[in-house]
Amino acid sequence: MKIHQFDTIILGAGGAGLMAALYASRSVKVAVISKLYPTRSHTGAALGGIGAALGNEEEDHWEWHAFDTVKGGDYLTDQDAAEILAREAIEAVIELEHMGLPFDRTKEGKISQRRFGGHTNNTTGKPVRRACHAADRTGHMILQTLYQQCIKNNVTFYDEYHVVDLIMNGDQPVGAVAVCLLDGSLHLFHAKAVVFATGGWGKCWEVTSNAHSMTGDGAAITFRNGIPLEDMEFFQFHPTGLYPTGFLITEGVRGEGGVLINGRGERFMEKYAPKVKDLASRDVISRAIAIELREGRGIKGKRYLHLDLTPDTVRRYKAEAGETADHYTAHYIESKLAETCDQGRTYAGVDPLTEPLPIQPTAHYAMGGIPTNVNAEVIANSESRVIPGLYAAGECACVSVHGANRLGTNSLVDLIVFGRRAGLRAAEYARGAAFIALPSDAGRKIESELNRIRTATGSTKPYLLRKKMQSTMQDLVGVFRNGKDMQQALETMRELRREFATNIGIDDRGSTFNTDVLETWELGCLLELAEVTAYAALNRTESRGGHAREDYEKRDDENWLKHTMVYREGDESLRVDYKPVTITQYQPKERVY
């Protein structure tokens, strides 16, 4: 195994990883290790905007953004983290503009902002224009801009090196193991500080907006190395996935005035969220859609509803609300929602300028993940003991800034704000630390696991396990849940994991670009995380944010205003304990939109 040495290594090259790399590389020797070319990362699929209370279009304050984030998170959000997110969002967006990000502009030449779900004027309760955007490809532009800056600053990249394990020396992280895709060789990256920025695991579900590469590698790796996972029961279903693929249709569509319509032609969100209607938080709207579908009000009796952004419809509803909508023309839609138009035409055969889009809820975003504090330092237990030299940021991390349900645009804010904090803190740590020796058996365990997969001749093809996992999670751990279903899901995941460990068979025994082995290894990560998700969801006997139980319909602050921490005990069993929620100025109250 080839050994490389860097002060700080950053695993993953999406928004959080690249931001961490930019900041860490200013003072220490850094390498970014990514299974994809950086511009392929899933940050690029984020569409509608990045929230920051710039106040360019109307009155806004970061305190309002912080409150909206806490309320959106159904009060499970750690409020110190939400305050940091909202405050630093402003300088983060300005910094992105200085880096060259081509934001859309107002007439005055400032960064243009649009409405998004759950972002409100805290005085009136009405939606506020807070989402800074570059058409509806904001994530694409963030990813491109950060990668451009990394090139400008000569950051070292190991592209298409797939990280498969963390190296620990006792309790101390000392590096990571990666497979070079090109020739299959194993590499040990010896480091003082390790930053996980490896993204989410939407591929646990069948209908998802997530890329094939969103397999939760980092969260599974840290979990296997004795680090807990926090709040795994909270996984967001985005209300508007395209039907039938599940691809994301941005909330920006509704921010611009688009409306949800059921099979009877009703704008049904008026019923569920009278004040903000189609701009309620995502969990609220996904549940409303699930109810409409369950009660037979899908379009033509099918499993989808309509998202209507045609000029006639939008102008009609805007006029009803007393707003002018002269600007809302076909040309305007085509420029502000270009990706949406392309998606509709390519994948649904629908031109959104003249017809409504068919939509359904789609598995979208992990609120939970690797537990960290507000400095992106990974913590080892419910007492928040910091693991020196280990950091996590972005979707793989749980700060927890999103609580039980993330607001739209806050994922991009999270990447920039906490990616930067991770980079700064990791570099600071590396500057003051010495290299700790790699253990003599570094990389051996994962080498033998990869060899097991490469030579596996069992009777079950991995895709069958993946299909079973995805359909089970879809049916039993979805928008609505109950104890019986989740118990069954948990048992299924355990069976699938046993099958994975004992009876898989693959075809590719070679060394060059062996995606058969690595896809199978990724499946192992997904199975692990699906099991933890089902376990944590079954354990939480209340409904909160994205976790809606039919058998416990109410939020229960007395017993459940706390974070779940799940630990692996031995190979088979799981254990849970709890971490308190940090409350600063927003006392929990009932959540109404």
């Binding site: 994809l36 070319y37 511009t39 392929r40 990362s41 899933h42 690029g44 699929a45 402003i90 300088e91 300005i94 503009e97 200085h98 880096m99 060259g100 081509p102 934001f103 859309d104 502009r105 007439k107 005055e108 030449g109 400032k110 570059a134 058409a135 490809r137 694409h140 532009m141 491109q144 451009q148 800056q149 090139i151 400008k152 592209d159 090109l182 890329a211 094939h212 590469s213 039938p244 691809f247 994301l248 420029s335 270009a338 990706e339 392309d342 998606q343 390519t346 994948y347 055969g349 093809k461 991995p462 895709y463 693959i506 075809d507 590719d508 070679g510 060059t512 670009f513 995606t515 058969d516």
Partner: protein, 243 residues
């Protein structure tokens, strides 16, 4: 419906030269993406089939391939366009060394990208707001619109590897790198216009473009690539972005 896929295969671990292999898939839906069909081949029939893919929805740029002779993203091609009993021919994009099956070596492509200074340079201190903190640099809606088209590029290489000038001479930076350069040449916040134009005026820069026009229809993002290259040529000739 049924689909037949003919794939150019090559595994350097065992094959002396590339060959064609044909796979037939039953129970396909007209709305299946070609990427889904390739996955079915890999997952159900032959796990050694190797390709790059990630988002599967046309935004990450991983799965550019030569599909019935045209460069496209496998995730943006639906089976229905080929009609009943379709045969679809799939091969790696041309002009870059084949690593395995549909995977090519992307390093030369990204080296060209890095060479054109793909980053904004502005050394003037940014404006300061009423609260004493930095604010955004102002840009008019029209100035932003000037380079909107080229900001859509996802670096999939479909344009560059459809270009006969690039096939003939791999030292040519290629359409994608020029598209990326265009995005900065025409951004009025940038202050390194002359340095950019000097790089692009190199013998292996824009003048290798013979306006063959293959690149524009190859772009899965609908970017008017040939037009962007023409505008960069004009900027070089005039030394200005507002020629």
């Amino acid at each position: 419906m049924e689909a037949t896929i003919r794939i150019r295969r090559f595994n350097p671990d065992k094959d002396k030269k590339p060959y064609w292999a044909t796979y037939t898939l039953k129970d396909c839906e007209p709305t299946n993406r070609l990427l889904e069909l390739l996955h079915r081949v890999k997952w159900e029939i032959d796990g050694t089939l190797t390709l790059r893919r990630s988002c599967a929805q046309g935004i990450c740029g991983s799965d550019a391939m030569r599909i019935n002779g045209r460069n496209r993203l496998a995730c943006k091609v639906l089976l229905q366009e080929f009609g009943e009993k379709a045969t679809i021919q799939v091969e790696p994009i041309l002009g870059l060394p084949v690593v395995k099956d549909l995977v090519v070596d992307m390093e030369p492509f990204f080296a060209h990208y890095r060479a054109i200074m793909p980053y904004l340079v502005n050394e003037t201190p940014p404006p300061i707001g009423e609260d004493g903190k930095p604010r955004e640099r102002l840009q008019t809606i029209e100035a932003r619109e000037r380079f909107d088209d080229t900001t859509k590029c996802i670096l999939c290489a479909a344009c560059t590897t459809s270009c006969p000038s690039f096939w003939a001479n791999g030292a040519y930076v290629g359409p994608a790198a020029i598209v990326q350069a265009h995005r900065f040449v025409f951004d009025d916040r940038d202050q390194h216009l002359q340095e950019r134009l000097d790089v692009l005026a190199d013998p292996d820069g824009v003048w290798r473009c013979r306006t063959i026009y293959n690149c524009t229809p190859a772009c899965p993002r609908g970017i008017e690539v040939t037009r962007a290259i023409g505008e960069v040529k004009k900027a070089i000739q005039t030394g200005k972005r507002d020629y």
